[in-house]
């Protein structure tokens, strides 16, 4: 049985589970499964052993640092790791070995995690699924012919398969919540400014969020507490105390806005996804919340402002290499970045005007609710070889809206579709209500039964 982080932490604290044994169990699963999942693009066995032995020494001495001490994790390969290759899954950075950890990597290291390695990503968190990169794309553990979604594809696959108990993701247009949905795990894009981004390779600075992915919302809360905080070197970081995230807080009397138009009109989800959302709403009612319909701006408006913003900012980051060595990118990323290069300054400014309008309209629409509920993805994972190159331009997604707003948004698994693959819902909160969002996710997971089934 693969423990959650909360379960493992309890066993480690009680001296009933050795961090070294736990690490070896994960490594055994990596040895058995990574050949077909491609979730890890670099393993760090010596570092893992050193981390696990240090945690075990603290366990024996009674000086454990907290619930992450001795917990096996992995980092998405856009997170800088001192002395460990960090490539963004790209030929552009094959030789890149950072000298410093990203701030969030350092925070988890200080919390005592055991680093098992670096995880697959879409190239620079934007180009995928690609088959022309130095490593193949990650595969979905529920069916290895299926897509993981992206860009935190390796983290999604590794957590679902139990290769790690938790890991880092990043989310610019849904890159945590998409893989969480298709891989059947939990993943939160925190409030913009909550988690430091220094040392994480950027995609689009006004949309980029760092965040955790794990099997449960409770585990995400543990991981998020350890990576949140003020970072004076990140201009987007909020100078406020790191929050205490209480997933047991009472939901009675809370008001939940069901954004029905997003998943029934703006985009049409599968029957299994719709059923999961309706069942989630019913669970929230049983927990004492009041569920009401709310109307936000349309997904089409959010997607227009979101993709123009993302494309323009990504181009600005990559334009030098796009002009000097474009063929070192994979085809998908090269094409997506090029599209950003074709935008005008006026286009970008119009996107920012629309963004401010969308923020104002969304605050007004959600004024009387504490949480929001909609889909996280259309349905079950498609076949990886059938994912359209321009899917994000063809159908609106459910996630980039909350990157534009900066509001915390969590994906949870709600059950399984006709194909036996996971389906999901998205729970959203107001800024800095990350704890309430995670509490809702945790209490729904306790009721919906979807956490009882792992990939074979």
């Amino acid at each position: 049985m693969i423990p959650t982080i909360a379960e493992a932490a309890g066993l480690i604290a009680a001296k009933k589970l050795s961090p070294v044994d736990l690490m070896r169990e994960c490594q055994a699963r990596i040895a058995a499964k990574n050949g077909e999942l491609h979730a890890f693009i670099l393993e760090t066995p010596e570092r893992a052993l050193a981390d696990a032995k240090a945690a075990e020494a603290r366990q024996m001495a009674g000086t454990l640092k907290g619930p992450l001490d001795g917990i096996p994790i992995g980092h998405k390969d856009i997170y800088s790791t001192a002395g460990i290759r960090t490539t963004a899954h790209s030929a552009q950075l094959l030789e890149n070995v950072p000298t410093e950890d990203a701030v969030t990597v350092a925070s988890w290291r200080e919390a005592g995690v055991v680093l098992l390695g670096k995880l697959a990503t879409h190239e620079f968190a934007f180009g995928g699924p690609s088959f022309d990169l130095p490593w193949p794309p990650a595969r979905n553990p529920w069916d290895t012919e299926r897509f993981t979604a992206g860009s935190s594809s390796g983290t999604g696959a590794a957590v679902a398969a139990g290769l790690i108990l938790g890991g880092t993701g990043s989310d610019t247009g849904g890159s945590i919540r998409g893989p969480a949905a298709l891989c059947g795990i939990a993943g939160i894009k925190p409030t913009y400014g909550l988690c430091p981004r220094t040392g994480i390779l950027p995609l689009a600075q006004t949309l980029d969020h760092a965040g955790p992915m794990a099997w449960t919302s409770e585990d995400c809360a543990i991981l998020l507490e350890a990576m949140a905080g003020y970072d004076p070197n990140d201009p987007g970081s909020a100078d406020r105390p790191a929050p205490k995230l209480d997933v047991t807080q009472d939901l009675r009397g809370r008001r939940v806005g069901l954004i029905r138009h997003m998943h029934e009109q703006d985009a049409e989800v599968t029957p299994a996804t719709l059923k999961g959302i309706e069942e989630t709403a019913e669970i929230l009612r049983k927990l004492g919340a009041k569920v009401v319909d709310v109307t936000l701006p349309s997904l089409q408006e959010f997607n227009a402002a979101g993709w123009v913003t993302l494309s323009a900012e990504a181009w600005a980051i990559h334009e030098t290499w796009m002009r000097s060595r474009p063929l070192k990118y994979g085809e998908y990323l090269r094409a997506r970045l090029a599209l950003g290069g074709l935008l005008s300054a006026g286009d970008y400014i119009q996107a920012q005007r629309k963004r401010r309008e969308l923020i104002a309209r969304s605050f007004a629409a959600a004024a009387d609710v504490d949480l929001l509920l909609t889909a996280a993805a259309l349905g079950e994972a498609p076949r990886i070889r059938e994912v359209p190159k321009w899917a994000s331009l063809e159908k609106p997604n459910f996630t980039i809206a909350f990157n534009l707003l900066g509001w915390p948004a969590l994906t949870i698994c709600t059950g399984f579709g006709d194909g036996g693959l996971p389906v999901a819902a998205q729970i959203i909160g107001k800024p800095w209500q990350d704890g309430l969002v995670l509490a809702a996710g945790h209490q729904i997971e306790l009721e919906n039964g979807a956490r009882g089934k792992r990939p074979a």
Partner: protein
């Protein structure tokens, strides 16, 4: 959906941006660009008034 630019118009736009792609990728990008043009129409419809809120605020504090 917006119409794609003509191949000549698109080649000019690419040249202005300083982008050189393998020829076999350009035609695909021209059609994808039309989808982006559709998004730009959404951003500009209805046209915001000239006195609309400035896109950016500038703070001397940060």
């Amino acid at each position: 959906m917006a119409e794609p630019l003509s191949p000549d118009q698109f080649a000019t736009l690419m040249a202005q941006a300083g982008i050189t792609l393998p020829p076999e990728e350009v035609e695909d990008l021209r059609h994808a660009h039309a989808k982006l043009l559709g998004m730009l129409e959404i951003l500009r419809a209805p046209a915001p008034p000239l006195a609309a809120e400035p896109a950016f605020t500038f703070s001397t504090e940060k």
